[in-house]
Symmetry: C2
Subunit: 334 residues, 2 copies
């Protein structure tokens, strides 16, 4: 269909080998023929086939990225960093989401292998052990984002982030602090919450821990559950910023003011969160940077550098307007 190296060779009166070398700036080729062939290629509208090249050289210059959820802005931040770094290294990105379905995750990564990507990145894997098992034919390196156990991973220390955030609330005088958790991905944060409370001699009240789906809707449904408690919280720490926004919306409907009547915290620090009303106190996960680091790590692995170590990055607290000292009225009434 398209013009090939052979077509050019025929017209130029040289061998295909020569055309290939001319096009690839091979050192041992006369300047004359090189120029001529490159000119000819342009005229003939030659577009090299990377797929034929990939077959010959046994690398595709492609990285497969399997992402947890395209609907969650946090993962988008990861993708931004990944895409930028991949492009900077002149790779291409095959992108797929698996929407928290382990079977789909496996399918996607298997398909990446069929397509002979040079490596894969997966965010929030549910099946990381499978990648470790040698007889699964996953013969390409895979880097996992946000695993604490996988050897090739870059992760944010969320437990510590949440622990500090809860400490902030305690310092503000809060004692009844709720946590809206996401059962699949929120275990580290929940742990940080527990550790912080216990470190301050506050016992964990199971009634104050409610599950959510990780989106705005989850916050919307979680808040009423908490506010209808006989003994409601004075602060609500949320799985992420989206949940916090849902919680704040529900609170407003309950005529609860944030932060005057109740404090609310997020997690992620989405771009929007600084401009929400009230602006969100939250934990910044440096998603772009984590994405970039994952690509760097993967490329080291692809190039068989063996000095790769798991990376853990510390998140940073962002104190803003959605938290305040516990209000006297609420605190005494509780």
């Amino acid at each position: 269909m398209a013009v090939s190296i052979k077509d050019i060779a025929k017209i130029a009166g040289v061998s295909p080998s020569t055309v290939s070398r001319a096009l690839n700036n091979h050192p041992r080729i006369s300047e004359g023929t090189k120029a001529h062939i490159q000119q000819l290629a342009k005229e003939m509208g030659y577009v090299p086939s990377s797929i034929a090249r990939s077959l010959a050289v046994q690398r595709s210059a492609t990285i497969g990225v399997a992402v947890t959820d395209l609907t969650d802005p946090y993962y988008i931040g990861l993708i931004q960093g990944i895409e930028k770094a991949i492009a900077a290294h002149t790779y291409q990105m095959l992108l797929n989401s698996f929407y928290r379905d382990p079977d789909r995750e496996l399918e996607v990564v298997y398909d990446f292998h069929q397509r002979r990507v040079d490596g894969v990145i997966v965010t929030g894997s549910y099946i990381e052990n499978i990648y470790l098992d040698p007889d699964n034919n996953f013969f390409k390196p895979v880097v996992i984002i946000n695993s604490l156990t996988y050897p090739h991973s870059v992760a944010v220390d969320r437990a510590t982030g949440m622990r500090k955030l809860i400490k902030h609330l305690i310092d503000l005088g809060h004692r009844r602090i709720a946590h809206v958790t996401q059962p699949r991905d929120g275990m580290e944060r929940l742990e940080g919450y527990r550790v912080a409370l216990e470190a301050h001699g506050i016992s964990v009240d199971p009634a104050l821990i409610v599950p959510c789906d990780g989106g705005i809707m989850g916050g919307l449904t979680a808040a009423p559950v908490l506010m209808n408690l006989a003994h409601p919280p004075t602060a609500i720490s949320c799985f992420n910023d989206l949940t916090a926004i849902g919680v704040i919306n529900a609170l407003h409907r309950h005529k609860c003011r944030v932060p005057q009547d109740i404090s609310v915290t997020g997690f992620d620090d989405l771009e929007m969160s600084a401009y929400y009303n009230p602006s969100l106190t939250t934990v910044r996960q440096p998603a772009n940077r984590v994405g970039e680091r994952a690509v760097e790590m993967l490329i080291r692995l692809i190039n068989h550098k063996n000095n790769v170590e798991p990376e853990i990055v510390q998140p940073r607290l962002m104190f803003r307007d959605s938290t305040a000292p516990v209000s006297l009225s609420t605190a005494t009434s509780s």
Copy 2:
């Protein structure tokens, strides 16, 4: 490196052709050998090479997607729809952004052609004429999202959306209506703004039209410019929701209440916008659906169906809490 069809053939004692057919469920193959070979393939950890297959069958089952800006949630909505539809058709997606750089757009699409994608989708192209030019060797179909002139495109009628939105403001009594525009991508919306004003006998005041970058920051800087006018607006229509959020933030800093003192409108209807405070009056662009439609159209083109016509989808107005009747004080003072 990995096991190939030939390896299997050797062990099974059949020809590679037979292995290929067994693996592909070819009709004329005995059940016995088929089962045996499939079993063997599994045992040997065979992972077929789609890249070799692509070379042989001359299709890659891959679609290239070039997207304007990965940082803008509107485009993410498009990508969600695209990814879903691509996966449903068992294609794979190669994703790249070009961040509004026409040269980069061309590079990306050229690279897609090198990789022999079966088709490409580009959002908000800056170089659509190039795709039309027959001697550019773009021998694969390309569908453009949001072009009004390209023959294979699906677009939202933004001019009409904006026109209706402005009419809504006029119906609320507003006469001094500003528009925060984005010079590259906002021309249709600006046009809708103009047409609406003129249709109601309101002359367009150039001082009320200010440019922005399409993000929150743009709104943040545009609002003060408008409020410092001798004759400030009573309503501000924004390029998109992000801009509106920036504008509202800046307004709050100016001690202006939205919508009591001034109305603000967005465009896009991001998920967040219904949960912003105040919730945003805006125009919904059905990004997911547009993305899906673009994939459907592209696949028709790939399969050489010739009944493809440009699609234009009508957006829908979402009336919420960021707009209100013009306040008497402000209106009379102006």
